[in-house]
């Protein structure tokens, strides 16, 4: 399924060999017509940049279809040159360049360049011994990235054969081996190559020659985990809700009565308990989920539906009951959040609106209000943060604006000054009602809601600047909580580290060591005082999914070791590695 360059038409290739054209109309699509149907499933499609032709790849051949007449104008067997080809050759990816060159990537590991009008093969590059699965062309059509089933991606460039000469040729240049499994999707941005594969990683590889200076963009980035909250915690009931793609799991945490020293594993007096697994109906993925702090309410939403459940804990048994007559929401909820007193539910929705539901005992709910930004907003809200006293609600929408609403009067309170970066986490301090904001470029802000301005600490941070090592981290802060015992402590975490930010301590400068906890331990008391700075970082965790404070001296941390799901992946393509 590919849209044309102007986005007015959509071409869809079908298993039966037909290509259907749909008209894109506001709010939906409309079937326009069928193009010439030939035998063989259509596996990939590409529009010509001028929208006059479509090229469709199938098994053993691809064809070029004239969009206006709907006729197949050229049909090229990709396997023609290979003698005694027993296996079928699957064209997995195809691209039609403006010059009339068709680039095909097939299961023999070849990237071939065809002149479709003549039907001749211009160049053939055998990039890999295994199949080439994906292909992306740069906007300027001088660079191509292909992904293969061995997890390697290859970069092809159109280079002049001779210095200053006009003759140009495609040359396979750099191979990248970032993935362990199939690379199913690749994209080519002006400055970077982006690839995603079956091994659940997204890799952004910047093109050094296109990046002017060393900056945030010039670093190779790998993403394994989504930057979203997948775990929610009922603090009072000590429950954890895990969101999987098709189901939810509710666990009761174990507990211990003993205390011990640093590094000791304490014996559990109560084992963690798997309470219930809730499967969602239909094929849709669960988009967001939440459990209320008291542990009696549970909600999740998929692309089309929103469900609310009442959790009954009677002794050891747990039962779920669906809350009837949940108001229909259109479009779906992007984020769910219960208020601290578990009496209301906030549902983030499209166009910057937040719906507020009142939860009724013994199992009902009522739509109370819809909060909307005053100026209107086209993007959906994706982050919500209610204050502990139930007075305020902060909502972040896709245009990175943070709106703060007063919940007592359901009124828009203010907007946090816009910062040109995506918000990765927000939280409202329970005692001071300061909103702490973490941006994806690792900047931290503190905004006082009652005073509608940045706090003085936040200003100091901005004037001093954060530590370079902190800014150069590549995974954003995904969750923020506060230490109830010490209001100056902010707990932050990203995928790899847990950080306690102590506002009372001085900020480190670039010469100081950012991660100094281990060195501090060895120092005597007086020297340690001098070395202390605001960031106390702990990196001992395996990939961190979630962290929250249960009560004053109990912190729950959810790890997700990479090996856990690596073992669940299908076997990668077997490759002989020299020297093993």
């Amino acid at each position: 399924m590919v849209a044309n360059s102007t986005g007015t038409q959509l071409a869809i290739g079908c298993e039966d060999g037909s290509v259907k054209i749909f008209q894109v109309v506001p709010g939906g699509i409309q079937f326009e017509r069928n193009l010439d149907r030939r035998k063989g499933r259509v596996l990939c499609l590409s529009w010509h940049p001028s929208d006059t032709h479509i090229v469709a790849g199938s098994i053993d051949f691809f064809r070029v279809i004239d969009v206006t007449s709907g006729q197949t104008v050229q049909r090229i067997m990709v396997n023609y040159h290979v003698e005694k080809a027993k296996r079928e050759c699957v064209v997995w990816a195809i691209a039609l360049l403006s010059s009339g060159t068709v680039v095909s990537a097939d299961s023999f590991g070849r990237v071939q360049f065809w002149d479709w009008e003549q039907g001749t093969l211009a160049e053939s590059h055998t990039v890999s011994t295994s199949a080439v699965l994906s292909l992306a062309v740069a906007q300027k059509e001088d660079s191509i990235i292909v992904g293969t089933s061995t997890g390697a991606t290859y970069h092809l460039q159109l280079l002049p054969v001779r210095l200053g000469g006009l003759e140009k040729r495609w040359v396979r240049t750099k191979p990248f081996q970032f993935h362990s499994h199939d690379v199913r999707a690749v994209a080519h941005s002006p400055t970077a190559l982006i690839s995603g594969g079956l091994d659940a990683q997204l890799v952004i590889r910047p093109l050094m020659e296109k990046v002017q200076k060393k900056s945030y963009d010039a670093v190779l980035r790998k993403f394994t985990f989504p930057h979203r909250r997948l775990v929610s915690c009922a603090r009072k009931a000590r429950l954890l809700l895990f969101q999987f793609s098709q189901y939810l799991e509710l666990w009761r945490l174990g507990s211990t009565e003993e205390t011990g020293k640093d590094g000791e594993v304490l014996p559990l007096c109560r084992m963690p308990e798997h309470l219930v697994q809730l499967k969602s109906k239909g094929p849709e993925h669960i988009y967001s989920s939440c459990v209320s702090p008291c542990g009696t309410w549970l909600g999740y939403s998929t692309a089309s539906r929103f469900q609310l459940y009442r959790v009954h804990c009677d002794g050891d048994g747990v039962s779920l009951r669906k809350v009837p007559k949940v108001p229909k929401l259109l479009p779906p909820a992007y984020q769910l959040q219960f208020s601290a007193d578990s009496e209301s539910l906030f549902v983030a929705s499209a166009r910057g609106s937040v719906h507020v539901f009142q939860l009724l005992e013994p199992g009902g709910c009522k739509h109370l209000h819809t909060l909307r930004p005053p100026s209107g907003c086209s993007e959906a809200v994706y982050l919500l943060a209610p204050s502990a006293d139930g007075h305020w609600l902060a909502a972040v929408s896709g245009d990175w604006a943070i709106h703060i609403y007063n919940l007592k009067c359901f009124k828009h309170h203010c907007v946090v000054p816009t910062y040109d970066c995506a918000v990765s986490a927000i939280a409202i301090h329970p005692s001071t009602n300061n909103l702490v904001i973490a941006y994806s470029d690792q900047q931290l802000f503190e905004f006082s809601i009652p005073e509608k301005q940045y706090t003085s600490w936040s200003r100091t941070v901005q004037s001093r600047g954060l530590h370079r090592a902190w800014l150069e981290r590549d995974s954003p802060i995904t969750h923020i909580t506060f230490n109830p015992k010490n209001p100056s402590h902010i707990l932050l975490h990203d995928t790899y580290l847990l950080c306690v930010l102590d506002k009372s301590l001085p900020l480190p400068d670039d010469s100081a060591l950012l991660m100094n906890q281990s060195t501090l331990k060895q120092l005597p008391e007086t020297a340690r005082k001098r070395q202390l700075h605001a960031f106390k970082i702990c990196k001992k965790f395996q990939p961190l999914l979630f962290m929250d404070l249960l009560d004053k001296n109990c912190l729950v941390v959810v790890e997700r070791p990479i090996m856990d799901f690596k073992t669940q992946l299908p076997l990668p393509v077997q490759q002989k590695k020299f020297g093993t």
Binding site: G109, T126, T129, Q157, L159, P160, V161, V171, T173, K174
Partner: protein
């Protein structure tokens, strides 16, 4: 210059090529490569050495064909000169003195009168620069080439680390992890560097570089075995490269095919890899080339390619990657442990060759006769792997038996094997007869055969000495087992020891009745019939390093050399020390055909040769400063026919020739003849003959000429024609000899005029008839005449080179030598 009468040291084989790529002549018939101080010209078809271009005083570092004249060759040397040769005739045309050491040479077609050389930068150690040298045009033969202009700084010292790109528009140099490209026209210098971090155990540093012949593409080889293909390198940032990876160790050299569609690479794996179209998936291999590949070069027509190997072998490979032939002289092995042994049957020199092999090297033809696999195990190239190595070799006097000892490299517990091989007449090779596992408990130090022709096979005895403090005597026994394949096998007969000392050397007397075995400081003499100890000698302090018996008239003497620098001669009849001398003897080698013994001493970085008779306490011949290198081994090789040597001093060379092997594995010999004589004239003829290419035109022309000759005879004008024919040798000589070696025109004039005159002798009728016949065989005659010219030419060059100095030097030298002899009487003071 040494007068022909005096002895001179002649390098006759071995030595290294030292990284300079070989060069094919323009017609791909000859292969030229630098070997030591010489440039060798080989015929590609016959594998023969045709010419040796000698004239450089130090190592030749680079050779290049003159791009403007394909019959000429530039060569550069560490002696700071560039020479221009006519390699077909072996004549130096010009010598340009540059001054500093020249490490590499590049000649470009676009640069009319300059070549590029790599020289060390003044005032800085280990930094080198690429400079262009303007070759001045002058009349004389010796010219100055002092006009230097620096092109690139900080280049590598190896000639493989610089390459010139398409149409000589740019030059690339690589060193460590840096690559620099200089564009001549744009005057643009681009530098790129790879990360120095050794990621995943790989080493990014560059080893060699070549440029694509038609496209702007640079191929670089790396220490971790990768080949990178660089493109777009005229952009500082948008440059890009792709990598090919097959080699597991350093890529030693790369070569592009003529069109640039194929890339050849070679390394330590001794596999030639051919990459097609820069694709990592399409590649061909030519494995089992025998030894690590050091250099690859392509012929100009792209039909042949040649690889130089680290062990001095040269392989010539077809364009379809099929092994064509190899030129192998003395194979360089890692360590010559066997010593120099002469095969009595073929008179070939026998020593370690390829790992685990024994090479038979023919001294006459400078070729390897064959290689005998002794260890019979696959050699795996890998650092730190313990290999079995051949350490000792001995032949019986008739060459029918060969004994070999191999041991694994482990020092503490060596795995020893003694193998006995019998020469089978049918297969014309050695066949394994007996294998003895662990013949000694520790390293075997020496081994020798006793056999006497008069006593027949029964007298054959093998003695081995070991560090386990015993010597063992092995004899042949009849195999009683009727099912055995062979009738005889070997087994141990006697084990002897002396005071629990380590046995170090053993030696039989000429008649075989006595066996001398040295045990550390003591030499013991045993009766070989009863195996009882006859007597002992020692000359403390110091362990015995070498022992040998005197021969022929001197067979009553036993000679020994000790660690503490003494050469002792004991009389076996009186059991007393006859004489001794203070000399640090490294090699002690008796001549099997005379009573002479050669001893090579090593003192203060020079080797000296002493030849003496045991009966006389003063040497017959002394040559101080034989060569700069340390001489490790020596051998007397019997001559096929005794050479006529007039001088009394060199009579010891009459029956056999002395060869030395230095620590750089160069084979040297002492010769009274000059070098040029050593090369057989026949090969020179070949050179002239082959220089006329067999083109369709020449065939046509030949036919036409023959026809014409036929017509001439038919017309009855044989006499006139014949006169022209007669005159032609002188004219031909005039025309064929290069202009710069010709005598003055006034001298030539008379000869020329004379040749045109009609000879006075009246020819008889028979003669005329004969001549008619001759004319029908004109083709052959022609070639004969050419032979004559070739010979003459050679002679003239000899005269020029050597003629003037002959008489003078021989006198003065004799005087000097006499002086030395007088002075050297003092060294026998220890007696």
């Amino acid at each position: 210059m040494v007068s022909p009468g005096a002895l001179r040291v002649v390098r006759c084989g071995g030595g290294g090529q030292r990284g300079a790529r070989a060069v094919f002549s323009a017609d791909s018939k000859y292969l030229l490569y630098a070997s030591g101080d010489f440039v060798k010209v080989h015929s590609v078809n016959t594998e023969e050495t045709l010419l040796l271009l000698c004239g450089h005083a130090d190592l030749v570092t680079g050779i290049q064909l003159n791009p403007h004249n394909h019959m000429q060759l530039y060569s550069s040397s560490l002696d700071g000169t560039i020479k221009l040769w006519d390699f077909m005739d072996g004549i130096p045309i010009k010598t340009f003195t540059v001054g500093p050491k020249l490490l590499a040479l590049y000649a470009l077609a676009s640069a009319e009168d300059s070549v590029f050389v790599v020289i060390p930068k003044k005032g800085e150690r280990d930094t080198f620069q690429l400079v262009s040298v303007k070759l001045t045009k002058g009349a004389g033969q010796d010219l100055e080439g002092k006009e230097l202009s620096v092109v690139l700084d900080g280049v590598g010292a190896s000639p493989k680390q610089i390459a010139f790109g398409r149409e000589d528009s740019y030059v690339v140099s690589v060193k460590d992890v840096n690559l620099q490209v200089y564009f001549f026209k744009l005057k643009l210098l681009n530098r790129f560097s790879l990360s120095t971090a050794k990621t995943k155990g790989g080493d990014n540093s560059f080893s060699c570089v070549v440029c694509h012949p038609t496209e702007d593409c640079i191929a670089t080889g790396h220490a971790d075995g990768k080949i990178r293909l660089w493109r777009n390198f005229h952009h500082k940032k948008a440059y890009t490269y792709s990598a090919l990876h097959w080699h597991h160790d350093t890529v030693m050299d790369l070569a592009y095919s003529l069109e640039g569609t194929r890339l050849l690479s070679g390394g330590v794996e001794s596999v030639l890899v051919q990459w097609h179209n820069e694709s990592s998936c399409q590649k061909d291999f030519l494995p089992r080339l025998g030894s690590p590949i050091e250099c690859i070069s392509m012929s100009s027509d792209g039909i042949l390619c040649c690889t130089l190997h680290t062990d001095n072998r040269i392989s010539i490979i077809n364009s379809n990657l099929r092994f064509s032939r190899s030129i192998q002289g003395l194979i360089k092995s890692r360590d010559v442990k066997t010593g120099l042994v002469v095969d009595p049957r073929t008179k070939a020199l026998v020593l370690n060759g390829e790992p685990g092999h024994l090479q038979f090297y023919s001294l006459q033809s400078d070729q390897q006769l064959f290689s005998l696999d002794i260890v019979q195990r696959q050699y795996i190239h890998q650092a730190g792997l313990k290999q079995s190595e051949l350490v000792k070799v001995a032949f019986s006097a008739q060459g029918t038996w060969l004994a070999t000892v191999e041991e694994s490299e482990e020092v503490a517990d060596p795995e020893l094997q003694l193998k006995l091989w019998f020469y089978s007449e049918e297969t014309q090779s050695f066949a394994l007869n007996t294998r003895i596992n662990t013949p000694h408990d520790n390293h075997i130090t020496d081994m020798c055969f006793r056999d006497m022709a008069e006593l027949g096979d029964d007298s054959l005895i093998l003695v081995t000495t070991g560090r386990d403090c015993v010597f063992k005597v092995w004899v042949m026994v009849e195999d009683s087992d009727p099912e055995a394949h062979q009738s005889v096998s070997w087994s141990c007969d006697f084990v002897g020891s002396y005071h629990n000392y380590q046995a170090t050397n053993c030696c039989f007397s000429e008649d075989g009745s006595l066996l001398a075995v040295s045990f550390e400081e003591t030499v013991t003499v045993w009766d070989s019939l009863t195996w009882e100890l006859k007597c002992t000698f020692c000359h403390p302090p110091g362990n015995i390093r070498n022992i040998c018996f005197g021969r022929l008239t001197c067979s009553k003497y036993l000679i020994g050399a000790t660690d503490y620098g003494f050469l002792c001669c004991w009389n076996l009849l009186t059991c007393a020390l006859e004489w001794s001398a203070h000399l640090n003897i490294v090699v002690l080698q008796p001549d099997p055909l005379s009573e002479h013994i050669a001893a090579v001493s090593w003192l203060s970085k020079e080797s000296s040769l002493f030849v003496f008779k045991p009966s006389e306490p003063w040497p017959i011949y002394i040559q101080r400063n034989l060569c700069k290198e340390k001489i490790l081994l020596a051998a007397f090789v019997p001559r096929d026919e005794p050479e006529m040597i007039s001088s009394e001093k060199y009579c010891w060379l009459r029956k056999s020739q002395l060869f030395f092997l230095t620590d750089t594995q160069e084979l040297m010999t002492l010769s009274t003849k000059s070098l040029e004589e050593r090369l057989t004239p026949s090969s020179k003829q070949l050179a002239v003959e082959e220089s006329l290419p067999m083109t369709p035109f020449s065939v046509l022309l030949g036919k036409h000429r023959r026809q014409q000759a036929q017509e001439d005879t038919d017309l009855g004008k044989p006499v006139v024609h014949n006169k022209q024919e007669q005159a032609s040798p002188a004219v031909k000589e005039l025309l064929h000899t290069p202009a710069h070696v010709l005598p003055s025109a006034s001298f030539l004039c008379t000869i020329f005029i004379n040749s045109l005159l009609i000879s006075k002798e009246n020819k008889s009728a028979e003669e005329v008839a004969d001549e008619v016949e001759m004319e029908s065989e004109k083709a052959e005659d022609d070639s004969d005449e050419e032979d004559v010219t070739a010979m003459e030419q050679e002679d003239t060059s000899h005269m020029e080179l050597l003629g003037e100095m002959t008489c003078k030097l021989s006198k003065s030298q004799e005087k000097e030598l006499r002086k030395i002899r007088k002075m050297d009487y003092s060294w026998i003071s220890a007696f």
